[in-house]
């Protein structure tokens, strides 16, 4: 198999475009989930809230403005075919250049501080939170997921005892959901990682948020658990923006990975109602 040679500069305009698109346009899958949630919602205030989110989503797309003011940390997920050979400047620099141009030209908020303790804004929303994975083939698939602080801050991780099993996972997720209430901007999506190590588990929870709303895990055990957790979350009464109602979560997505005999790691990552993502393949 011949290598496909790509100059790293090809990712700059792609990432710029994806940043702007993701921040300004909620995709049809999310907008459709809002409409269905609006029909099901019983609380008057909750229904009005979802109605406003729908109007806002339509307005943001039409006007090409950020649907949410918190245009997030730029999470960039790259699936790089193993037959791709790179030339040019370091890939990481080019990814950050794409992020820089997207946030600047898109009039998007710059929300990154250079040092978590010194807290000085980098003023261009770099660096990206970059995840790369080597996959089969000779293409590069890039997903940009602007991740707002309100929902990201409510995530949690815990290593359960292996014997706690399915019930332990359910209990932990529900405990987190009840504790954080309306703060992750419901109606949200919950990404759950089960297994792996601490790092692997957290990344799975994040990547699970990319899966379209309504799509279940291929393995029946997890598909069933997703449905059970979704029902339980929507029975908490937290509702849209935490003001009470039937719809707290639009969906629950679980991904799993083998893990050590001693461990049952569980990571919970929330994606707020501004469930933004955009993907392109080079």
């Amino acid at each position: 198999m011949m290598s496909r040679i790509l100059n790293t500069e090809v990712v700059v305009p792609v990432i710029e475009r994806l940043v702007k698109k993701a921040c300004c346009e909620l995709n049809d899958n999310v907008m459709e989930a809002f409409r269905s949630a609006c029909e099901q919602e019983e609380s008057v205030l909750g229904k009005e809230t979802i109605q406003i989110l729908i109007e806002n989503g339509e307005y943001a797309k039409r006007e090409q403005m950020a649907c949410c003011h918190d245009t997030g940390a730029a999470v960039v997920i790259m699936e790089i075919g193993q037959n791709v050979a790179w030339e040019g400047k370091p890939l990481k620099e080019q990814v950050n250049e794409g992020v820089r141009q997207g946030y600047e030209k898109g009039n998007l908020r710059k929300s990154m501080v250079a040092d978590p303790l010194e807290r000085v804004n980098t003023n261009d929303n770099t660096p990206a939170i970059l995840h790369t994975e080597i996959v089969e083939g000779d293409t590069v698939t890039i997903t940009v997921m602007p991740k707002g602080g309100g929902s990201e801050n409510m995530g949690a991780f815990k290593t359960l005892l292996p014997g706690q099993g399915i019930q332990g996972v359910k209990d932990f997720v529900l405990e987190v959901v009840k504790r954080v209430g309306g703060n992750p901007c419901p109606p949200y999506i919950i990404g759950i990682g089960v297994g792996g190590t601490m790092d692997k588990c957290a990344v799975m929870a994040k990547k699970a948020l990319i899966r379209p709303i309504g799509k279940r895990n291929a393995k029946p055990l997890y598909a069933e658990l997703e449905k059970e957790i979704l029902d339980a979350v929507n029975n908490t009464g937290i509702g849209p923006l935490g003001m009470g109602g039937r719809i707290t979560a639009l969906d629950v997505h679980i991904d799993y990975y083998p893990c050590h005999i001693t461990a049952l790691p569980v990571a919970v990552n929330f994606q707020c109602n501004a469930a933004r993502q955009a993907t392109e393949t080079i």
């Binding site: 809230t49 109007e55 403005m65 003011h69 801050n153 703060n183």
Partner: protein
């Protein structure tokens, strides 16, 4: 209901949790970093750069405006992060806050004690709020960028009363109704 800013103690007293109100008048944005700077200034014996008497504090960090527009996407940020500063701001004269999400129990007590309210906006619905802001002026801490203190003129910005002057909390009343 329509409310004109600045609010008076008498006006806020009649507000009840769950009331939907449209705010018109001047407000100030102030969030994490600016609250911390005010606290540090007060600790040094200096004055706050803004007179908070009867003012509404909007917990918000907006997007830049598009060329030709007055203001960009803006919306309430998580109010709970500002909970530790609420008493300081009430002592400075603040009368109302605008944010999103749940707040600590003691914030309800402070609203009762100082006769203030906490309003809720819709987190995530920030594009449609851009047109609700008719003027903007950076009044302090410009170096903080999006987190600077900005004086905005609201034209019918929609809010919901989250905590009233009796210390009632909307979420505590509403969530149990839908719990199964």
């Amino acid at each position: 209901m329509e409310l004109t800013l600045p609010l008076t103690k008498e006006q806020v007293k009649i507000l009840k949790v769950g009331d939907v109100a449209y705010l018109t008048g001047y407000v100030y944005t102030c969030r994490d970093a600016a609250h911390k700077k005010i606290q540090e200034a007060l600790e040094r014996g200096e004055k706050s750069p803004v007179d908070w008497q009867d003012q509404l504090v909007y917990y918000a960090g907006p997007c830049p405006a598009k060329p030709g527009k007055v203001f960009g996407s803006n919306g309430p940020t998580t109010a709970a992060r500002m909970d530790p500063f609420v008493e300081m701001m009430f002592q400075q004269g603040m009368i109302a806050m605008l944010g999103k999400g749940d707040r600590a129990e003691y914030v309800a007590d402070l609203c009762k004690q100082y006769g203030g309210v906490s309003f809720l906006g819709i987190g995530g619905a920030s594009a449609i709020n851009a047109d609700r802001v008719k003027s903007v002026e950076i009044v302090a801490y410009g170096e903080l960028g999006t987190e600077s203190i900005k004086k905005l003129y609201f034209d019918r910005y929609r809010v919901i009363v989250g905590i009233d002057t009796e210390g009632n909390v909307l979420q505590q009343q509403e969530v149990p109704k839908y719990k199964r």
